[in-house]
């Protein structure tokens, strides 16, 4: 065991509350075989998320956040360890897990309501019922009046809300999001954060958000998992004890600033390693 790993064992995940975990990531390892030998993307990570909790996973680019997202979503299988949702092992895409992707993922050939009703359509829900339920979730993400529009007629933020409504209509136990607002400007991101908080509180939705944005993570989360840079390990958990219900107004508070500074202190070292690594690789390629 490396010194780093030994240190990490001294910082176990804090037990915040007594409710049983909806999502359990237990000592998961993901190793990829490459022509240059095996690469460990996720190294012995554990995480428990309780009902209604909002947990963000933050780390520098290339630390394995998206691999963790794909592992939890069942799109990848762990090399070691176990992931379970509501006690059931995740062995592939699971009906209890709804995923929202970083890239724009609405179907351009479907109207907004057809997009949102998609998950219900493939489940075999009748047309009238699925459209009614779709309209409910469209209203929830603040897109009432746009039901018949096509994604090409919407802004990037609106399209991401359509993607979110499509996933919510599936009524997943866990909403798993991979940097859904990464392509948006900061103001839109903050305002959409408000919308996410409102929905999460309204549905008591359990959420895991993968992000590299510290502000976003602090604004939305109950807990933040900070990852190390390659291999991706748990550096530490930070509990965000900001009051709920929350809005983006919290961004101006001293406590918010304190959390951002605290997390940046942890991330800076990892981000520097990442940057140095990328510069070394670029230099090697140049030669």
């Amino acid at each position: 065991m490396s010194g780093n790993q030994a240190n990490l064992k001294l910082q176990p995940e804090p037990a915040a509350g007594t409710a049983p975990a909806i999502l359990s990531v237990d000592d998961v390892v993901k190793r990829f075989e490459t022509p240059d030998g095996p690469v460990v993307a996720v190294d012995h990570m554990s995480l428990d998320v309780r009902q209604g909790e909002f947990v963000s996973v933050i780390g520098p680019s290339g630390c394995g956040k998206s691999t963790l997202f794909n592992l939890i979503g069942g799109l990848l299988s762990p090399t070691e360890g176990r992931i379970s949702i509501a006690g059931e092992e995740v062995r592939g895409p699971h009906p209890s897990i709804g995923m929202v992707f970083q890239e724009e993922s609405t179907f351009p050939w479907r109207s907004v309501e057809e997009n949102v009703a998609f998950s219900l359509e493939v489940q075999g829900v009748g047309k009238a019922e699925r459209l009614e339920r779709a309209r409910h979730f469209i209203a929830m993400v603040g897109l009432r009046g746009f039901e018949r529009r096509y994604p090409t007629e919407l802004s990037g933020g609106m399209r991401q809300r359509v993607a979110m409504a499509r996933t919510l209509a599936f009524e997943p136990k866990l909403l798993l999001m991979d940097e859904p607002f990464a392509a948006l400007d900061e103001q839109t991101r903050l305002l959409l954060g408000d919308k996410v908080l409102q929905i999460q509180q309204e549905l008591n939705q359990t959420v895991v958000l993968i992000t590299h944005n510290i502000t976003e993570a602090v604004q939305l989360s109950d807990r933040i998992l900070i990852m190390t840079y390659r291999p991706g390990r748990t550096k530490r958990f930070v509990e965000i004890k900001l009051p709920r219900p929350r809005t983006s107004e919290i961004v101006g508070s001293d406590a918010f600033g304190h959390y951002v500074a605290e997390i940046w202190n942890d991330l800076r070292e990892e981000a520097s390693k990442g940057m140095h690594d990328q510069e070394t690789m670029a230099e090697r390629r140049r030669r």
């Binding site: 592939g92 992707f101 724009e104 351009p108 050939w109």
Partner: protein
Amino acid sequence: MRAFDRFAPAALGLGGFILFLVAVEILVRVGVINGYIVPLPSAVLVALGRVVAEEGVLPRFLLTAGESLAAGLLVAGIGIPTGILLFRFNLLRRATENWVAAFAAAPIVLVYPLFLVIFGRSSWTIIAIGTIAGLPPVVLKTLEGFSGVRPVLIRVGESFNLTGWQQFRTILFPAAVPTIFAGLRLGLIFAMINVVGVEFLINFGGLGPLINELSERYDMPGTYAAICFVVLVSVLFFLAVERVERWLRPAS
């Protein structure tokens, strides 16, 4: 404003075409364009009625349209599944893709004697050559359409745990539709050129031989009027293809 947006492009297109005809009319009349080679558009307009009444254009038009339709349906019916097959089986794709691309550039019309031997002097020869000529772009564009589906859309399907058939029906095919239809349009053009060309070569009937007869009689207005009917077949097919595409993918 909405009515303007709706009708302005069509009006501009039609107006531009009429202006072009007027310009040609003037240039022929003043002798800038040789009137023996390019007839007056007004004379072509008059000849339209004449070729309908005297040259039996309607049955010829229906024959060419029918052969083109048959070739078009075969092109779609064989080309799209073949493209899907190449997409599904990478080995097959790597083994045949270059051959299919080479076929697209080959002057397939030259093998008409072979088809004459197989099918005789009949519409089947014409349809067969039209089909073979139209297949490569449809196969290649179908392959391109499926290969070009954005990976995130496939991951969305996977996240909803779709079966292979659901993934194909609800994501892959609709996503590939615009590219497939671009191939279909090209395939139809190739098929129609070959249909009219082989009609002319084997002198079987349809609009191809009519154009040839009229040009040999040096009836230039009549020749151009007959060509207008070939263009009409093409326009009708393009409108039909566009309708089908809009039905399959309303937001295209």
